[in-house]
Each structure stands twice: as structure tokens, then as C-alpha cells.
């Protein structure tokens, strides 16, 4: 067409220029867009990953701190419990020992009392029998031959009874 050639449009040149542009696009895609866009994406991904990782680390740190804190609190509680238990046990043991000792002492005292009582009874019995003899001898000495056997016995018995009444 006349107007096209007037404007310098030549289909051969037009196709040549289109081919040039397509070649430029293909080569720029290979050497420029693909590598640079990939580098940009990689960097963005790296940044996103780093931020995520940092968040994760912060969260984990918080959790760990809390765990540590809980653990410490629990340990402290347990320690206090153990100490309290030990104190209770010690107190109980002491009390038991004291009770036992007291019981033993009381036992010993009681036994000693019983023993003493028995001794005393025995001594009294001895004393009364000896006294009877003494009375008999004394009566004989005082009365001479006045009293007979029967009287002697009666007197002695009376003396012992009196003694018993006084003593008991």
C-alpha cells in the first residue's frame, strides 16, 4: 500500500525488527529477568525464613524460661515439704523416745517401790518375831518363875499385837 511505503514501513524490516525484539526478550529473560527475579525471591524467602526462625526461637526461649521457672518452684516446694516431713519425723521420734524413757523410769521406780515394800514387810516380820523373843526373855527375867509357859506366850502375843497396831 502506498501509505505504508510513504511512512517507510517495509514488511521485511517489520519482521526483522519483531524478530530482534523477540530475541532480545528471550535473551534478557535468560540472562536478566530469571536470575535477578530468582535472587530477589531467594532473598525475600531468606528474610521471611529468618524472621520466622527468630520468632520461633523467641517463643521457645519463653517456653524454656517458664519451664525452668516452674521446675525451680516445684523443686523449692518439694524441698520445703521434705524439710517439714523430716522435722515431723524428728519430733515424733523425740517424743517417742521421751515417752519410752519416762515409762521405763516409772517402771523402774515402781519395781523399786515394790522391792522396798517387800523388804520392809520382811524386816517387820523379822523384827516382830525377834521382839516376841525379846519380850519372852524380858518377861522371864522380870517375872522369874512367876509366870508359866502359857502366860509367857500370851504376853508375848499381846506385845507383838500392840507393836503391830502401832506400826502398821
Amino acid at each position: 500500500m502506498e501509505v505504508f511505503s510513504q511512512l517507510g514501513i517495509d514488511w521485511k524490516l517489520l519482521i526483522a525488527q519483531m524478530v530482534n525484539i523477540v530475541i532480545l526478550l528471550a535473551l534478557l529473560y535468560k540472562f536478566l529477568y530469571k536470575p535477578v527475579l530468582k535472587a530477589l525471591d531467594d532473598r525475600q524467602k531468606m528474610v521471611t525464613d529468618s524472621v520466622h526462625k527468630a520468632d520461633e526461637i523467641a517463643t521457645r526461649l519463653k517456653v524454656t524460661e517458664k519451664e525452668q521457672h516452674d521446675l525451680l518452684a516445684k523443686a523449692r516446694e518439694q524441698a520445703q515439704e521434705i524439710v517439714a516431713q523430716a522435722r515431723d519425723v524428728a519430733k515424733a521420734q523425740t517424743e517417742e523416745a521421751v515417752t519410752r524413757t519416762r515409762a521405763e523410769v516409772e517402771n523402774v521406780v515402781r519395781q523399786a517401790k515394790v522391792h522396798i515394800e517387800a523388804e520392809k514387810q520382811k524386816m517387820l516380820a523379822d523384827a516382830s518375831s525377834q521382839l516376841a523373843d525379846v519380850v519372852v526373855v524380858a518377861t522371864k527375867k522380870i517375872m522369874g518363875e512367876v509366870a508359866d509357859e502359857k502366860m509367857e506366850r500370851l504376853l508375848a502375843q499381846k506385845a507383838v499385837d500392840a507393836l503391830k497396831d502401832v506400826n502398821v
Binding site: 517507510g8 534478557l28 535477578v36 531467594d42
Partner: protein
């Protein structure tokens, strides 16, 4: 002073006219590919200076297209195309500002007297380049639109017999798809070609100091046109992936 709207052929290979703008396109392609190769050859986790610059540039572009598409996944999908459009258009626009481009050449004696045939010409000051880029852009817009909606839903945007209004709107949509090619290619061509003409005129008037603000203006225009081309492509792709309004 002779200003040619066409790119001038320098020689022919197998019937293909090698124009000065085609030559510059090749140079730009090779330069861009080599530069990318050397920059991305060693990418490290801790970026160096070059890597930092390229990464910042990428983040900027991704953010820019995210603002248009509103979806990082779609941005990544169209990124190779729109980034190539941005980078190549920026590069070819700025080649026209290099000293010697458009000024060094041979004088050819034709029917209308002598005319200068420059060895180098900014590719975006040649409709073959801008039209080629527009065609690629619009073809990809259709492909991505069909990919998102399916051929049935996508064609409903253009062919609808529901009511006369939607039929009419469908035809308008169809026309607008073709007008995209024209507007893309002529916008870029017009801006850059006009810039070259402006610089040629200024340079023919005076050589020192005065052209400097115009050069800076053309640097800016080159950047703006690269942004416009790539952003509009992103906008059209995003629109093409939306269903027709019922």
C-alpha cells in the same frame, strides 16, 4: 537540511534492506544482552554495587507494574514482556541522543539534490521498530486475555448480539484493539522522530550551549515514552483479563 521520515537502507543482504535503524537495533540488542550477562553472571546473597543497582531497578519496576495489575502473580507473568519493552524502548530512544547518530553519514546525490544518509538512526524513529513492538504487545495482550477468560468469554467482549447497545460496544472494542497498534506505534515514533527533528533544527541553528536543554528534554521524553509504552501494555493486559461488563 534533509529530514527523512523513513529509515534509510545502507546495503542489502539477500534482499533484506539493512537500514541504519536496524543496525542500531542490533547494536542495542547485543549491548543489552552483554550487559545483563556480565551483571548477572555473579549474583551473590550479599549484593555488590552493580547487583544492588539492578535489584533496586527491578524492585522499582515490579512496584510500578504492581500498581497497575494489583496482583504480584500477574506482574511476574507479564514482567518479561513489559520490562523488555521498557528497557528496549528506553535504550533505543536514548541511542538517538548519542553524538554521531543521525549526523555522521554519506552524502548521496539523488534526484532532489544531495541528501545525507546517516549510518545510525534511533530505531524508535523508524516505524518498523515501533510497529513491530506494538504488534508484539497487542498480540500478547490478546493471548493473555484469552488465557485468563477462555476464548468464548473473551470473544464476547467483541461480538455480542444481546442488544443493539452491546453489539455496538463490541464493535467499538474491536476497533479499539486495532487502534491500540496504531496509537502505540505512532505515539512512540512521533515523539522520538519529532525530538530528532527538533535537535537537528536546533543544531543547524547553533552548535554550543543552546542544544543542551533540548538534549535534556529528549532524555526525559525518551524515559517517559518507555514508561508509557510498558505501563499501557500492563494496563491493557489487566483490562483484557477482566470479563465484559454485562
Amino acid at each position: 537540511m534533509h529530514i527523512s521520515i523513513k529509515a534509510e537502507p545502507l546495503f542489502h543482504i539477500f534482499g533484506l534492506p539493512i537500514t541504519n535503524s536496524l543496525l542500531v537495533t542490533w547494536v542495542v540488542v547485543v549491548a543489552l544482552v552483554l550487559a545483563s550477562y556480565f551483571v548477572t553472571r555473579r549474583l551473590t546473597r550479599i549484593p555488590g554495587k552493580a547487583q544492588n543497582i539492578i535489584e533496586t531497578f527491578f524492585e522499582l519496576l515490579l512496584g510500578l507494574f504492581d500498581g497497575v495489575t494489583g496482583d504480584r502473580a500477574l506482574t511476574k507473568k507479564i514482567f518479561p514482556l513489559v520490562a523488555t519493552i521498557f528497557i528496549s524502548v528506553l535504550a533505543v530512544n536514548w541511542t538517538g541522543l548519542f553524538p554521531g547518530v543521525g549526523t555522521i553519514g554519506i552524502n548521496e546525490i539523488g534526484h532532489e539534490g544531495t541528501k545525507l544518509v546517516p549510518f545510525l538512526r534511533a530505531p524508535s524513529a523508524d516505524l518498523n521498530f515501533t510497529l513491530g513492538l506494538s504488534l508484539i504487545s497487542v498480540i500478547m495482550i490478546q493471548i493473555w486475555g484469552i488465557g485468563a477468560l477462555g476464548i468464548g468469554k473473551y470473544s464476547k467482549k467483541f461480538i455480542s448480539f444481546k442488544n443493539p447497545l452491546s453489539f455496538f460496544i463490541g464493535i467499538l472494542e474491536l476497533v479499539s484493539e486495532f487502534s491500540k497498534v496504531i496509537s502505540f506505534s505512532f505515539r512512540l515514533f512521533g515523539n522520538i522522530f519529532a525530538g530528532e527533528v527538533l535537535l537537528t533544527v536546533i543544531l543547524s541553528l547553533t552548535y554550543y550551549i543552546v542544544p543542551v536543554p533540548f538534549l535534556m528534554l529528549e532524555l526525559f521524553v525518551g524515559l517517559i515514552q518507555a514508561l508509557v509504552f510498558s505501563l499501557l501494555t500492563a494496563v491493557f493486559v489487566t483490562l483484557a483479563r477482566q470479563e465484559a461488563h454485562e
